[in-house]
């Protein structure tokens, strides 16, 4: 049996959660509402995060453009995603939502721009 301790982020209360996993059986204790149980289950089964960063932009009025993964990606892929973001760059003009990396670290999820950058005149 695997036991994990988590802190719930569902509300400011921050309940300390204990998750016990035995095969496909998952039990959560320490939560004071249903949201805590849902959070704990997702967190132990398939934790995901949105990753944000910024990449250099060529020919733009500013030097960097902020980016994010279009949706959440598996938590254990964060550093692989960051490695690809570090190698990426954009060409001005950039619009919000422009795809910077089509499929990041094999997640099937693109990295997109979160800021518009006009081209230098």
């Amino acid at each position: 049996m695997e036991v994990r301790e988590l802190i719930c982020i569902g509300c400011p209360l921050g309940c300390p959660l204990t998750v016990r996993m035995e095969g496909s059986e998952i039990s959560v204790t320490g939560n004071t509402c249903k949201r805590g149980e849902d959070y704990a289950k997702k967190e132990v089964l398939s934790p995901t995060r949105i990753v944000t960063s910024s990449v250099p932009v060529k020919g733009g009025v500013i030097g960097m453009v902020s980016v994010k993964t279009k949706s959440d990606i598996p938590k254990d892929k964060i550093f692989q995603v960051m490695k690809e973001i570090h190698e990426a760059s954009a060409q001005a003009p950039v619009a919000i939502g422009d795809v910077i990396i089509p499929d990041c670290a094999g997640t099937g999820i693109p990295v997109i721009a979160t800021k518009a950058v006009e081209a230098k005149a």
Partner: protein, 436 residues
């Protein structure tokens, strides 16, 4: 001298939301003055997600949230000047600013909205001994250097202060390949949002040391290390608890201070607790026709509440200008002692007591108020299982149980106009925490 109906100082989230709201309320002649080279304020460097859950019901990054409001302002064709620094505002609402195109100029406003935001508490305010080597940054400066300028800032990092920017930067620097060794917090609790502690520190195994502070900075040209010590209940370092950390960078995330030099220049009454102006339920300062909203009024955790507050300030400034125009029209006919369409008000002070540090607004006009007014406040310490109570002249009218209250999370309660109907002679409203 050029005249404008409303002049807004600052083009960040507060200024933009105030401008859009004032325009929607029917004011054509609005001018935003912004000192940076673009609109959006601090959101431009906050590239992480988590913005807009309340306002847009989706999770946006800072630049995306800013872009939504910039688009609204542009759709409304609201004029703004960039690279423009306001240097003085007079009681007569003459706003003096400076920029490269116009040099020094002054415009006269019927109403002014203060939306200058806040700035970080610097090292100089902390009394940390040691040289002044390179490698010591306020967390927000490091954030700007990294996210907007594209610099790498540092490789081995210690962060003092667990405010939200410090937590966000702990994650950001880790993702950029730096090693964040520890986040130290003077207080026995974090000043940041819980979810930031989980997602920025716990996710990356970064330790948070509560009741700890930096007692020495080593290095002459560049930081080479720092010494951390535990502090007692008096927040003074405990001898013998010193611990050394090698690092090349120290980030300070030790508090935000509303930027009110201009407000003080006007002479508006300031709150010693918020470091912002005192305001009534219209978000109007002690100086008639001068309104304040956003982080210049009190430091917020969530931009969504800034937008909400600023929308109210924009609407009220619009109503003020419209009432002024109406009364000047009527003046030619018959003299009226009061502002057009407004009954004689009854301002009641809101008092923060027993664990509630302050309230915004600080006074409420129970005659002229909107149907409901949102009162925002912070508590002084971490409290468990307490009640927030509101009383009118000693009679408890509202009592809400809170499992947890923390200084890092702003609280709010809504007071309804109808609740005052039994209290025409009301003298004070008290908001406090109670154990049972």
């Amino acid at each position: 001298m050029m005249e404008h109906d409303i002049v807004i100082i600052g083009g960040g989230p507060a200024g933009l939301a105030a401008a859009v709201a004032a325009r929607k309320a029917g004011i054509q002649d609005i001018l935003i003055l912004e000192r940076d080279s673009c609109l959006g304020g601090i959101l431009n460097q906050c590239i992480h997600n988590g913005f807009g859950l309340h306002t847009f019901k989706e999770e946006l990054t800072g630049p995306e949230y800013a872009a939504r409001y910039i688009a609204m302002a542009e759709e409304e064709k609201i004029p703004y000047r960039l690279n423009t620094m306001v240097i003085d505002i007079s009681k007569e609402k003459e706003v003096t600013f400076i920029n490269r195109e116009e040099g020094l100029s002054t415009v006269k406003a019927k109403a002014v909205i203060l939306a200058m935001g806040c700035r970080e508490r610097p090292r100089g305010a902390l009394n940390i001994p040691g040289y002044r080597p390179a490698g010591i940054y306020s967390a927000g400066t490091a954030q700007r250097l990294m996210n907007i300028e594209g610099y790498s800032v540092g490789k081995e990092v210690v962060i003092l202060g667990s405010g939200d920017i410090g937590l966000i930067m702990a994650r950001r620097m880790t993702l950029e390949g730096a090693k964040v060794k520890v986040v130290a917090e003077l207080m026995p609790y974090s000043g940041g949002l819980k979810r930031n502690i989980v997602q920025c520190l716990d996710d990356y195994g970064i330790p948070l040391k509560l009741s700890h502070t930096v007692v020495d900075i080593q290095g002459k040209e560049r930081v080479t290390g720092i010494t951390l010590a535990e502090v007692g209940p008096d927040r003074k370092p405990i001898p013998g608890t010193e611990e050394h950390y090698d690092c090349d960078t120290l980030l300070l995330s030790v508090g935000l201070i509303p930027e009110n030099e201009l407000s003080r220049g006007i002479g508006v009454t300031m709150s010693p607790v918020t470091s912002g102006p005192e305001v009534n339920d219209c978000l109007e300062t002690s100086q008639e026709g001068i309104f304040a909203c956003g982080n210049v009024l009190h430091v917020h955790d969530l931009v969504d509440y800034v937008s909400e507050e600023a929308t109210l300030a924009g609407r009220n400034a619009a109503a003020y200008v419209q009432a002024m125009e109406k009364s000047s029209e009527e003046e030619s006919g018959e003299e009226s002692g009061e502002k057009a369409g407004k009954k004689a008000g009854h301002q009641v002070p809101l008092k923060a007591e027993n664990g509630v540090r302050y309230t915004v607004p600080q006074t409420l006009d129970i005659v002229n108020m909107q149907d409901s007014v949102t009162v925002r406040f912070r508590v002084a310490d971490v409290y468990k299982d307490r009640y927030i109570t509101v009383s009118y002249d000693g009679n408890t009218v509202l009592r809400r149980k809170k499992k947890v209250l923390a200084p890092g999370e702003m609280e709010q309660i809504v007071l309804k106009k109808e609740s005052f109907s039994d209290y025409p002679e009301l003298k004070n409203i008290v908001i406090r925490t109670e154990v049972e």
